[in-house]
Symmetry: C2
Amino acid sequence: MTKYIFTNIIGSFVFDKDFKVVDKIEFKNLEEYNDKLKIEEKLSEKHSPTLITKQLINKKNKEILRKILAQFKDQQNFSNFYKQNIIITAKQLKESVNEDNFIVQTINNIEEIDKVANTLTKRLREWYELHCPEFSRSIESHEKFTELILNKSKKDLLKEVNLDPDNSIGADLKDKDIIPMINLANGIHKLYDLKKKHTKYLDDLMEKYCKNIKTIAGTLIAAKLIEHAKSLRSLAKMPSSTVQIIGAEKALFRHLKTNARPPKHGLIINHPLVTKSRPKTRGRTARHLANKIALAAKVDYNKGEFIADKLMKKLEKELK
Amino acid sequence: MTKYIFTNIIGSFVFDKDFKVVDKIEFKNLEEYNDKLKIEEKLSEKHSPTLITKQLINKKNKEILRKILAQFKDQQNFSNFYKQNIIITAKQLKESVNEDNFIVQTINNIEEIDKVANTLTKRLREWYELHCPEFSRSIESHEKFTELILNKSKKDLLKEVNLDPDNSIGADLKDKDIIPMINLANGIHKLYDLKKKHTKYLDDLMEKYCKNIKTIAGTLIAAKLIEHAKSLRSLAKMPSSTVQIIGAEKALFRHLKTNARPPKHGLIINHPLVTKSRPKTRGRTARHLANKIALAAKVDYNKGEFIADKLMKKLEKELK
């Protein structure tokens, strides 16, 4: 007599030829669900040799499948399905968190910190210029500016940049009016510090996770590439021509819509090899570099060996 | 015999009827320039009674003024003018820094810190949700969220919001991957701290500088009003109808250009009296409040007495 076996997330079921359940093992928890193959096997043995399994049902006859599925339509099953689904999804969610997520969060945060520190330093400059306008104009680096404000008095600052410490056109302020500026400088300094810690973390993370891309592209560019691609996996799947223009989407679409030239490089324009090559050869450099990065991504994703040093040597030869 | 006396920033000069310089006292430094009236007086006495002073020259005869000014056209005078002008402008700049500047810088910075802390906390939430998504959704306040992250473990956090500490769908992360989040939380916490310090500073500053507006409008709104007006002086000059809609410029111009309704309130919409009044009476409340603020600004600018308590009582009566 023909029987059918059918397994889904709530259990393994045996049906007779009239599609009545004649035997079943329900999964009480996630462990049992993960053992579903074994459990199905057990039931199969018990009811063999008249048993038709799910795979066979699917292929042989959709009508049978439809009738079996109809058996799961009652309310009790629904709530079982619902519960079990939640549990499985939660577990998948939990397990889906990986290095890609950390890299994306960290590199995004580093960029935000950069922006934020910029905004605040601009304010600090404007504010401090009430007190000492000459100094602000002599120091271009925001970070160095903040550092110096934090540690030196107005006179020392002016000496630092070789200006007359007794002849500032800035107002002589009381301490109580200078302290808020120092507090702000301190806050900005803490942000730069945070950025350094994040960069170190990212560095360590990528050293283990994707050493090849990291070595070729540099930590920050490699992280941005992964961030744009959303994961190492999808970066590894990209052709090198895509890697070359990641981050230049605007220029790419302008090219596709109008007659504008296609972009020669996206994110990798910040790579030292591209930066230092002459404008004319920049496109070529970007192409070769993207080629190596794409290759490195594939190796990293498949947990291959460290080949970045060889790739770099090859790249340098190609660029000569 | 007629002589003319003429004083400018480089000195005091006596001309004869042919407009030759017959006597002069040049100002060697800023102190002498500041004493210009006395010096002119001294020269006047020496050459009286035939002397005509600058004021009289101006009114009597423009031709004479033109001839005198022509005497200052040689190169030597130019460089004197230039030097003296620089010195005077620098001094005026130096002296122009006052409480208005501090208030504008501080309130702007407070708003920037708010924005920046918001951006960073959004990132912190997204990042921390990899680890513990349930918690982030249970705490609405960004500041409290950051504070708790900083001080408690995942399990304690879940207990804090009455959730099952053993059943999170977030990933169980290693310490090394949690530390960057804590570092970020720490950075944000420092920014909130900075904001508190700034607010305290602003409070003290305005207590002395403009206690009346501060009492009526509250520190932050009062500071924003001054910031929009650019100074206490210009705020004091504004009619109360302008004070009422400061900060609603967009709505005002929309009203002027189209047939849209005029704005009922600008910045002062955040004042507790306006916030808590019913929508229908909000315009009226704003009008009365703006009236008192405008009055308070005038009193503060003219260094008048503390009348804010009386104004507040009157306001409350009017609003009944």
